[in-house]
Structure formats: C-alpha cells, structure tokens
C-alpha cells in the first residue's frame, strides 16, 4: 500500500498572522514538502494543476522534473492533470519525458477540472467535459502504445503518421488514475481501461464515494481485468494532528474557518462528522483512516492533503514528521493485516515492466 501527500498549490493568507506567501515562496514550499515526504518515508507526492490565481501549479511536469532530481525513491504524480483542456499529445510527450528523467518514478491522475473559465481560455467548452475526457484519453492511451498514430476525432486536429516522443520508458506507459468527484462515467472509463480510480474523498460524505467506487470495482471485473477486489483504488484524506487532540483542534480551527473551499460554512465538528477530515491526535487519525478500508474495501493508495488553507510551511513539515513517524508505519502494519493475497499493490514502473515482459514471453 502506498501513502503520500497531494497538494492543491493554493496561495492563501495565514489567517493567524495575516501574511500571504509570494508565489515564489509557495512554489519552493511545495518542493520542500515533496522532499520532506520522501525523508519521512512516504511513497508519493502529487501536485494539482490550475490555471488561475490563487494557485501556482500550472506546469506540473516542470515542478515534478525538478523534484525528481532532488529525490531518490518518491513516486511523482498529479492530482489532477486536466485531460479536458490540455492537448493529449502534449500530455503524452511531457509525461514520457518526465518518466525518463525520473527513471520511471511517475504516474498521473487525470481529471476534468471544474473551473468554468479554464475551458474557454484553452479553447474548449465545459459542457463537453465528459466527451473531452473520453476522446482525449482514448488518444493519449494510443499515443503511448502505438509508435505511429493516425487519428481523427471531434475535438482536435487529426494526426497522420504522428509519433509521440520520447517513447515511454522501457515501452511501458505511466500508470494512469482517473479522479472524479461526481461522475459515474469516469469510474466506468477507469474500469474499461483497467486503470486506477481515485476518489478525492475530502469534501463530500463517504456514501457518495462508496457508490462511485462500487461501480468502478464491478465494472473493472466486467471488463475482465480481475475481480472487483483487485481493482486499483486510491483515496484522499485530510488531517491535522497534535499530540493532544484539543491542541490540534485549537490550532487548526482558524485555518478551517477561513479555508478557501469550505470556510465560513459549517463548524469544524460538523464537517468532521460529515467528511473524512480528521483533526486530533495521531491515534485518532490512525483509527479514522483504518475505517476507509471498511467502507471502500482494501485499496492501494492513500494521499493526504496537508498544506492548504494558509498553513505555514513550518507547521506542514511538523505535520509530515508526525505522519511519517507515528501514523503511516502503524497504517502500513494494520492495512497489511488480513489483506487478501490476491489484492495487488499499486502498479509501479517496475511492476508494469515485469508484467509486460511476462506477457511478451508468453
């Protein structure tokens, strides 16, 4: 099982000091957070993609390439890469390049994006969100698997005799997760290709995501990729910890109350009841995270959101220390218990390369 962090990359004022970091500080903070994730023994760092203030990560592969050069082990990913408004040809090229530079420590999560104006800014129509996701991914999938591509679709210039370079490392494309908050069509798409499905699991009640993941697992089996239990599931989570839970609540409350996504709405306590947000002791975080397996089945990847809402870098790094030292080692042990042998780990470049060689020799 993989554990990691994912970042939205928001530039937000710290409500306790009134200070807003510069874009430069925030970008460098994200890099520091990624390096820290590796240092404390986490497996994955994933960055969001945005094309409007107050967010900085408009160019994920640039950032991940830089992080790749400063880490050894960490898997670099996205949360999410916009499959609707990016040219699938450029995604194919950028991530193949990143894969070579990072020696295969790369996967990506595709999402549609929910910021209305981004679609027209990139020449698209938000009402075509699902068709764009379906067609663009069909092309991306082909570009990574066929050396010479002839292609014609509805949304992009046709291609005749096109080769996307560099070719994927060892001929094995990066593993793809499909992220969705609302759409069963995306769970169905992930199942069809045998790709992973990631449920953000942060802002909505779990019942909603149980429905999507159940659909994904059943359809994954329907398309012959394995049993429903073998489908590749990733989940988000959001935590803030201190030794004493009262201290965690006291320190996090001003950040919660002013947070860009849900601030000025329900109380921290109500939001913790309704969503997987956990603010408390490391043991409370462990207990809550372990319930995810009961709700969603054995899964492959757990990403935590740790660095948003204006939390200062120093605090985030302290949080990562607690996560790496006190929480994740226990979660690894507990999630390994009673995990059926046929439930696979999250695919990596090594496992995908080995699988490709096996099927080639057969």
């Amino acid at each position: 099982m993989q554990f990691g962090v994912f970042s939205v990359g928001d530039v937000t004022m710290d409500p306790t000091t009134g200070r807003t970091p510069t874009e430069h500080e925030r970008i460098k903070a994200m890099v520091t957070i990624a390096q820290k994730a590796e240092e404390v023994g986490l497996d994955v760092f994933a960055t969001g993609e945005h094309h409007n203030p107050p967010f900085v990560p408009s160019s994920p592969t640039t950032m991940l390439g830089y992080i790749a050069a400063r880490t050894e082990r960490l898997v670099l990913s996205t949360a999410t890469t916009l499959i609707t408004t990016n040219d699938p040809v450029k995604i194919a090229e950028d991530f193949a390049m990143l894969q070579h530079l990072a020696d295969g420590r790369v996967d990506l999560m595709l999402g549609r994006g929910n910021t209305g104006p981004v679609y027209p800014w990139f020449g698209q129509d938000i009402r075509q969100g699902i068709p764009l996701a379906i067609e663009n991914y069909a092309l991306l999938h082909k570009l990574w698997r066929e050396d010479v591509v002839d292609w014609e679709g509805r949304f992009r210039t046709p291609l005749q005799g096109f080769t996307s370079t560099p070719r994927p490392l060892d001929g094995v494309p990066p593993f793809v997760w499909h992220g969705s908050i609302r759409s069963p069509e995306i769970a169905e798409q992930a199942a069809y290709y045998g790709d992973g499905f990631f449920a953000n699991n942060i802002f909505w009640p779990k019942e909603h995501f149980i429905r999507l993941i159940t659909l994904y697992r059943q359809r994954y089996a329907h398309y012959g990729h394995g049993t429903p239990e073998q489908a590749i599931v990733g989940l988000g989570g959001q935590v803030f910890m201190r030794k004493n839970s009262q201290d965690a609540v006291r320190e996090f409350r001003p950040y919660f109350d002013n947070a860009p996504v849900y601030g000025h709405g329900p109380s921290l306590e109500d939001f913790m009841d309704e969503t997987p947000l956990t603010v408390g002791s490391p043991q409370q975080v462990i207990d809550r995270t372990l319930t995810f397996r009961e709700h969603f089945g054995d899964y492959q990847r757990q990403l935590f959101l740790m660095d948003h809402a204006g939390l200062p870098l120093k605090t985030v790094l302290e949080q990562l220390d607690i996560l790496g030292e006190e929480v994740v080692p226990v979660l690894r042990r507990e999630f390994a218990k009673d995990r059926p042998a046929q439930v696979p780990d999250a695919p990596t470049h090594a496992s995908l390369t080995a699988a490709a060689q096996t099927s080639a020799t057969v």
Partner: protein, 222 residues
C-alpha cells in the same frame, strides 16, 4: 403514495405553513376519495429549520445529513406542494436556495402545485412570473391553478369575479390529485428511458448507474 409540501414561511405560526397544510390536506382528501388507492403519506418540509444547512451546502458543495433527508423526501414524492411568502416581488431567497441545491433534473416530470402568501393581493402574479418559470426550468409539471393567499383572503370569501381561498385550494388540490393518480410509477419510467448498467453496493443499498463505455466512445466517433 407520498405527498410532500415545502414551506418557506419564516414566522411561527406562519401563514405560509398554514396554506401548505391546507393544500396538503385537501390533496390527500382528493386522493383518498379516489377509492382503491394506497394510503397517502403526507410530510411538510419546513425550510426555516434547514436555513443554516442550506447555506452550508452552498459553501461546502454538499448537503448535510438533515438537508439530504429533506431533498430525498422532495425528490421521491409522488406530488409536491411548494409554498413561499412573496419577498421583494418574488419567491423568498430561502425558497430559491433550497431548489438551488436540488439536482436540476431531480424534479423532472413531477406534479407540482405552487402557492404563495403575501400582505397584499397585488403580488399574486409573482406565482405566474416567478414560481411557474422556476418549475418549468426544472421540467416539473405544474398544475394550472396556483394559489395565492393575501392577508385579507384568510378572512374573506369569494366575490362575483373570484373564488374564495377555500374554493381555490380545493380546485388546485383536485388538479394535483388528478395528475398524481394518473401518473405511472416514477422508478419504472426512469429505467425504461435509459440504456444503463447499475452497480449496487449491497451493504448500504446504494445504486449508481452508468452508460456502458463502448457506447460513450461510439457516440464520439467522427
């Protein structure tokens, strides 16, 4: 058979709630007088009690448990009675906000009776200029008679030109009952309409439906 009234009245007691109750009771009597019908369950959703939950749903993007239950009651009803006070020439903001957090297609085809209260009869056309277009957008089927109760209606009868409040309530409720009893069961209708596969989560009884991927892909071929 389920009838649900949504009342956006704010005071307690509220004339909006009073009108909702009278419409609900009249519609229930019409349906039960129809003979061999199933018993009619009635329920009133008071938006005042959900005001903070509705505001929170705007902020968080999802309805909390109490609001979810109210939305389910409304979307699963066989007939809906929607009653608002007239504020600033239209339905109240709270009334609109509730229908803003209901999924846009969740009321498609649902029989709806619209009604409103106000201090003066001069606002009665708010029903026709504001309420009816709102439910037309949601593709609900709104009965022809909309019921407006001004303060004086609670103490007066009809005249040579207009029916009194009691008669209008009876007429509107009858129209709603006729529409509700003449309507095929909702679930069967929905299933037949779409070529979908379903995934059922057994423990929670949750269902998610989707169009098979080959069909989604085929629809995009140039």
């Amino acid at each position: 058979m389920k009838l649900v009234a949504v009342s956006a009245g704010l005071s307690e007691p509220s004339s909006t709630r009073l009108l909702a109750d009278r419409l609900l009771e009249a519609a229930r009597r019409h349906l039960e007088a129809d003979g061999d019908r199933h018993p009619v369950e009635v329920r009133v959703v008071e938006l005042r009690d959900l005001a903070v939950d509705i505001a929170n749903a705007f902020v968080t993007g999802f309805p909390g448990a109490r609001l979810r239950a109210a939305i389910e009651a409304v979307t699963e009803a066989d007939g809906l009675i929607a009653v608002t006070p007239v504020f600033t020439a239209s339905y109240s903001g709270l009334f609109k906000s509730f229908f803003d957090v209901v999924e846009p297609d969740a009321l498609a085809g649902k029989p709806v009776l619209i009604a409103a209260t106000g201090g003066t009869a001069r606002h009665s056309l708010a029903l026709e200029h504001a309420m009816r277009p709102l439910f037309a957008y949601l593709r609900a089927v709104v009965v022809p008679t909309a019921v407006y109760a001004a303060s004086e209606d609670w103490g007066g009868g009809g005249d040579a030109f207009t029916d009194g409040l009691g008669e209008r309530i009876g007429r509107a409720a009858g129209e709603l009952a006729a529409l509700v009893s003449g309507r095929p069961r909702q679930a069967a209708e929905k299933d037949a309409e779409k070529d979908v596969v379903k995934a059922v989560e057994k423990a929670a009884g949750q269902v998610e439906e989707v169009v098979p991927f080959e069909q989604q892909l085929a629809a995009l071929r140039p």
